[in-house]
């Protein structure tokens, strides 16, 4: 009993693992993607884009209230039937697999462009994905702790970037709402990839220690991520203006040059070093979700069999990583896939929520 309690997530760990599912390599490119459409209002578009994780936070609160011990996988099997439920669950798993590959591939692109030109993509993938696998061998609790450290680092590094406040021009942000509402909303859709990952909350809530605090936990995580994201987008536009932001693939790394730290020639490499931990934890998180869903679908209980799954995912993930290619190609592919994934997620999670609602009504009636 005690042991199982120990394995559950504490509040702060749950917050950081939820934030950790979202914050990853998309962070570095976010201002570029949003500013393409939303121009100088990219910051506002990012805040609006936050509605997506907020929706999932709300759903998780509702799910947890009605079924505190069953995650979305079990609920979908219960309400959609065994066959449809399992198919949906597998589709749900595939998205984490894609995000896992997209994260590792994006990290490779940043690393090879900015820091280690001599490493071949394969060499980076092997290390990144084996680290993800290794963390999964160890278990959920260490994973949550890594997320906690990574979250602290994110906040620290983002606040160092605020040094660009000295040099930039607030005029770059004006006129507010000048680009028009339609363009802003279009821009906020672009931020969806950066926000994706919050779906994981539907898997994780049964693993939390204080289920009555689910509202606080998921809302805190969402607010934190929206805060960090919109701050970084505001920062980039403020410092670079939207035109330069659109021109560079990773605007955040250009903003790092504004930080004039003593003794450090270029803050950029320090930033990438810190950021590496963030990407590695993202890969590990997505990895955990993938393994968790496969385990549930195949009804595996033994840890020996789970280890086989973990090892089995490695070649699939590396293959997907290689398919995504260099950065421009990767973004094209993701721009094609991500909207569909998001649509699926919203429909899938909403339908189950509706079923829960109906079922609840019927139950109440039969009791009453």
């Amino acid at each position: 009993m005690d042991k199982s309690k120990y394995h559950l997530l504490s509040d702060s760990e749950a917050v950081s693992i939820l934030a950790g599912l979202m914050i990853g390599v998309g962070f570095l490119a976010l201002p570029n993607q949003v500013a393409k459409d939303a121009k100088n209002d990219a910051g506002i578009a990012t805040i609006i884009g936050g509605l997506y994780p907020l929706y999932f936070a709300m759903l998780s609160i509702y799910y947890c209230k009605k079924h505190p011990n069953e995650d979305i996988l079990k609920l979908s099997k219960r309400y959609l039937g065994n066959i449809v439920g399992v198919i949906c669950n597998i589709l749900f798993m595939v998205q984490f697999l894609i995000y896992l590959a997209a994260g590792a591939n994006g990290y490779k692109n940043v690393l090879i462009t900015y820091a280690t030109q001599f490493l071949s993509p394969m060499r980076v993938f092997i290390i990144v994905i084996s680290i993800g696998a290794y963390v999964n061998f160890v278990g959920l609790k260490p994973l949550a702790r890594i997320n906690k450290i990574a979250l602290f680092l994110t906040v620290i590094v983002t606040s160092i970037l605020s040094m660009s406040l000295i040099r930039g021009r607030y005029l770059n942000l004006l006129p507010i709402f000048g680009t028009g509402i339609t363009k802003i909303i279009k821009g906020s859709l672009e931020s969806a990839y950066a926000y994706s990952g919050m779906e994981g909350v539907l898997l994780l809530y049964p693993l939390m220690k204080n289920k009555d605090k689910i509202a606080a936990i998921s809302l805190k995580a969402t607010a934190l991520v929206i805060g960090v994201y919109s701050w970084i987008v505001f920062m980039s536009i403020y410092y670079l203006g939207y035109k330069v932001t659109v021109k560079t693939l990773w605007p955040v790394l250009l903003v790092t040059e504004s930080a004039d730290l003593p003794f450090i020639n270029s803050f950029r490499l320090v930033f990438i070093l810190f950021w590496s931990l963030n990407v590695l934890k993202l890969v590990a998180n997505e990895y955990y979700a993938v393994v968790y869903i496969i385990q549930d679908t195949l009804k595996i209980k033994k840890s020996k069999h789970r280890n086989i799954i973990i090892l089995g995912v490695i070649p699939i993930a590396i293959y997907l990583c290689l398919k995504l290619g260099e950065e421009v190609q990767r973004r094209e592919i993701l721009n094609y896939i991500v909207p569909k994934i998001i649509l699926f997620n919203i429909i899938y999670a909403s339908v189950i929520a509706i079923f829960i609602f109906i079922n609840d009504k019927i139950n109440k009636k039969s009791i009453g």
């Binding site: 060499r123 770059n172 670079l240 203006g241």
Partner: protein, 375 residues
Amino acid sequence: MKQIKNMKNIRKIFLICACLIIYVYYAAAMLDEKPIEEYDISSGFGVDLYRDGAGTVKYSIPFSILVFKGENRQYSMIKTGEAPTGAETRQNRQLKTDKQFLIGSQKIMLFSESLVRYGLKYNADIQFNNTKINDRGIILVCEGRTEDILRYKVKGYASSPEYIEGMIKNSMANDFFSREYTILNMYVRLDTEGRNLVLPYMKISDKGLEITGLALFKGDKMVNKVDVEEGKFMNMMRDDDLIGYLSIQKNSDEFMNFYGNTKKRVKCNKVKEGYEFEIIIDIKGDVIANTLYKEFNGKTKKELEETLSKDVEKKCSEFVNKMQNEYKLDCLELGMYAVAKYGRDTGVDWNEVVSNSVIKVKANVKVDKVGRGAY
């Protein structure tokens, strides 16, 4: 028992083998990588452009390379590459050099006048793409060939770029120069609507290396230049938080010097005929020398502030006039303010609009300190 021990041994051997394989695999990636000592480190480079006999454009890019010999003894040498495009000069330069280059650790980047008159865009692109480049490196324009300036010997310095870096970085201390002549700022200025690039302009005079003015850009092309005195008032209206000297002189015996720093505000209004701009400059500072007023009290202080304000206003208006009629440029980045208030991407040419709009200048000089007393 024995079996378990065997298993453990096998596991150990397996782990060691795996570690070895991984090490070899990753070490193989590093085979072509050389230690930093085996690269040429440049303290700065120039970009020149000329046309050959047939009229085609050619780039000539000289690098000032530091040569380390023995302890603390440094020399510099110039290696130049010539080719029709910027990147190709690298291969041409390599043929003349004994080591590989490490582009990006440079302190300054010099543009020759011929290049900036032709256009900076192609050069900005290659710098933007280079992830190793030091984005906070200083850029400036020079008269004549950049090679001559890089080759110029400054006593006590290993190479002239180190000296020039200091010149630009510290010019802001006394001459109302901006602090922002860096590569990163070049990207921002070239691209943002309603902004224009201004870079320091230097040459070799008979007294050595000297900053003689500021180069004015229209888009990515240099179109004109102003001298330091004129540039002082331009910068005052263009940039924020600058430091420098102002003075009033009646004759060689009666004069007053003032050392202050500026704050600028711009008000922009759309009227029927076009735009109306009001630039308000607040200058706060100290009286450095004063032989103009025998007695320094509240009344004379006010008088002094007023005369200085009027003087600044007059000189600024003179510049505005010249800018609107002669240069026909928006050197004061007023377009940026109009854009921020009335919307972006309207396709307006701000150089033209600003040249035809009403620009008022107002200066408020305030004396903060008067030193330890008058002698």
